[in-house]
Each structure stands twice: as structure tokens, then as C-alpha cells.
């Protein structure tokens, strides 16, 4: 893909270094571009269909079970995104997270919290969110910088 005649470079990892004692832990996060493997393991919940007396059908988005399933699914998707994004980190191995077992995915947080302080865990997760475009503040700041630059161009 090109923009303004320049080839857009492939995904560049976000990097953060957490110093801990005499060690420096380098975490890298890449954007997740393909969610098909996740969908294969965790299908998006479907709202139950209601059939009324006359045969009219419609989905029930207010269904309690559906909303609980959707919340659980979203948590798993978030965990899967973090784990998959952090695969860019060299030699990172999880002890209790199993790739094919969605129930184990949320364990990544417990494993991080065993070693790193809350603030450090937040920093690690931040690079995942930035890499995956989920940091709205960073996008807003970049947009503001771009628009401010355009304003200066018009004034000169």
C-alpha cells in the first residue's frame, strides 16, 4: 500500500523497557491484523430470536444470557488480543496461558501481576493498546497535530 507515493512500512512494534533489579525487560507489541483464529475458537454470541404469536421474528438484544455471554466474549477477545500482540516480544513464554484454551487467556494478567507492579503492568498493556489503535488519546493528539499543521500551512 502507498500513500503520497511512499510505500507504507509494515507494522512496527511498540516497545517498552521495564527495568527490574539488574534486568531490563523489553516488551514488544504488534497490531493484531487477523482475528479469524480468535473467531474460530470463540464465536461471537448471537442474540436469541423471539418468535411472536403471528410469526414475527426479531433478535432479543436485551436478553440477560446474551449480554452475559457478550461480556464474557469481549473479555476473552481483549485477553487474546493482548497475548497475540505480545507475541512480538522475544522469548516471552506464559506458564498458565494455553493458546488453544480460551479459559486460560485471562491468566496473562495474573502472571504479569505476579512480577510487575500495577503501574508497570499498565505500561505494558499501554503498548498493546497503542499498537492496536485502541489508545484514543494518542489518535486524538496526532489528529490535532495534523490539523494544527494544516492551519499553519494555510496562514503562510
Amino acid at each position: 500500500m502507498k500513500m503520497n507515493g511512499k510505500i507504507i512500512e509494515g507494522p512496527v512494534p511498540e516497545v517498552i523497557v521495564i527495568p527490574k533489579g539488574e534486568n531490563e525487560f523489553v516488551f514488544k507489541a504488534l497490531p493484531v491484523l487477523d482475528f479469524a483464529p480468535f473467531e474460530e475458537l470463540c464465536k461471537t454470541p448471537v442474540a436469541p430470536t423471539i418468535v411472536k404469536k403471528g410469526g414475527e421474528t426479531f433478535p432479543d438484544f436485551d436478553d440477560k444470557g446474551y449480554n452475559e455471554a457478550l461480556t464474557a466474549w469481549a473479555k476473552k477477545k481483549n485477553a487474546w488480543t493482548v497475548i497475540t500482540s505480545l507475541k512480538a516480544t522475544d522469548d516471552l513464554e506464559w506458564e498458565t496461558v494455553v493458546e488453544g484454551d480460551p479459559e486460560t487467556w485471562p491468566n496473562y494478567l495474573t502472571e504479569l501481576q505476579k512480577i510487575f507492579a500495577d503501574a508497570e503492568v499498565s505500561l505494558i498493556l499501554d503498548i498493546v493498546y497503542i499498537a492496536n489503535g485502541m489508545n484514543q488519546k494518542k489518535i486524538d493528539d496526532a489528529t490535532k497535530r495534523f490539523l494544527a499543521g494544516q492551519g499553519q500551512d494555510q496562514n503562510t
Partner: protein
């Protein structure tokens, strides 16, 4: 037992699959009854009451006959909504349903769960479970558009639980 206004209750027919397949039925007009029976054997000693023993177990007998307001399919299973009769007979859109009975050699069964939610916030939600129900007679009334279902559950009594109405 307290009288239950079935208009404030739902009947959920559930199978034994994981995730569970279910059909929620909001009852309009009609009734559902279940009968628990216990056989007691009274032994006499020279014409006087003496020993008491429990006789043979009797399954819970269930009948229901109603017109529904709406039916609702499973949350996690996509596809068309089965009819009540489909779920009882494991056919049509319920052909993939799995018996609620853990013993796969026994005939197909479903669980019936009645959830009564009183419209006043002070009343508790009552959940009555009739496990492993197998229909034995389906009486169709074409003019009324109803099916009267009778059958038995492979349990001696229903389970009932009350929870706060939130």
C-alpha cells in the same frame, strides 16, 4: 403452594448439551401441573398399625396445555427457533439437541424449568426444575391451536429454589 400466575412465568425447555440448547416460552393462557407421589406401605401387627416402609418410587407426572405469547431460542446457538414439539421430539430445528439424561442409552429427555418472576419487587423469583421429562401423550387441538402435553420426569420430586427479585 402459592398460586403462580403463568403470565408472569416462563417455561424453558433445556437439553443436556454444552452450551445448552434452550427454548424459552412465555405462556399466555393455559396451565402447567406436576404431581409428586409417594407410596407408603403400612404394615400391621395383629391388626394394629406398626411398621411403615416406603414403597416403589413414582416419577413426577407433568401436564401442560397452553397458548404461548412468544417463544425464544438459545442465546449461544444460532439458527432457526424450534417449536415446542420439535424440542420434545428432537426433530426439525431441535434435531441436534442432546438428551438431558446422562445415560445416553435411555430415551431422549429434556429438562423443564419454570421461572416465576412476580411483577411486584417484593416477591421472590421462584425457579422450579422438572428434570428428565419425557412426553407420553400429545393431544392436539386444532381449533384452539394448542397441544396438551402429558409425561413423566425420571425423578421423584421437582427441585425448587427462591432468589431475590432484582
Amino acid at each position: 403452594m402459592a398460586q403462580i400466575d403463568l403470565k408472569q412465568a416462563t417455561l424453558t425447555i433445556m437439553d443436556g448439551d454444552t452450551p445448552v440448547n434452550e427454548l424459552e416460552v412465555r405462556i399466555g393462557e393455559g396451565n402447567l401441573t406436576y404431581n409428586e407421589t409417594r407410596n407408603m406401605e403400612y404394615k400391621l401387627n395383629r391388626g394394629l398399625l406398626d411398621e411403615v416402609r416406603e414403597g416403589d418410587e413414582v416419577p413426577v407426572a407433568v401436564t401442560f396445555d397452553f397458548v404461548w405469547d412468544y417463544i425464544k431460542g438459545s442465546t449461544l446457538v444460532s439458527g432457526a427457533v424450534p417449536t415446542i414439539e420439535d424440542t420434545l421430539k428432537k426433530r426439525g430445528n431441535a434435531v441436534d439437541w442432546v438428551s438431558s439424561d446422562a445415560d445416553a442409552c435411555r430415551p431422549y429427555a429434556v429438562d423443564l424449568v419454570i421461572v416465576y418472576t412476580p411483577d411486584c419487587s417484593t416477591g421472590e423469583v421462584e425457579t422450579i426444575t422438572l428434570a428428565d421429562f419425557r412426553w407420553e401423550a400429545l393431544n392436539h387441538d386444532l381449533s384452539a391451536g394448542t397441544i396438551a402435553v402429558t409425561g413423566n420426569c425420571n425423578v421423584t420430586e421437582a427441585t425448587s429454589a427462591r432468589t431475590a427479585n432484582v
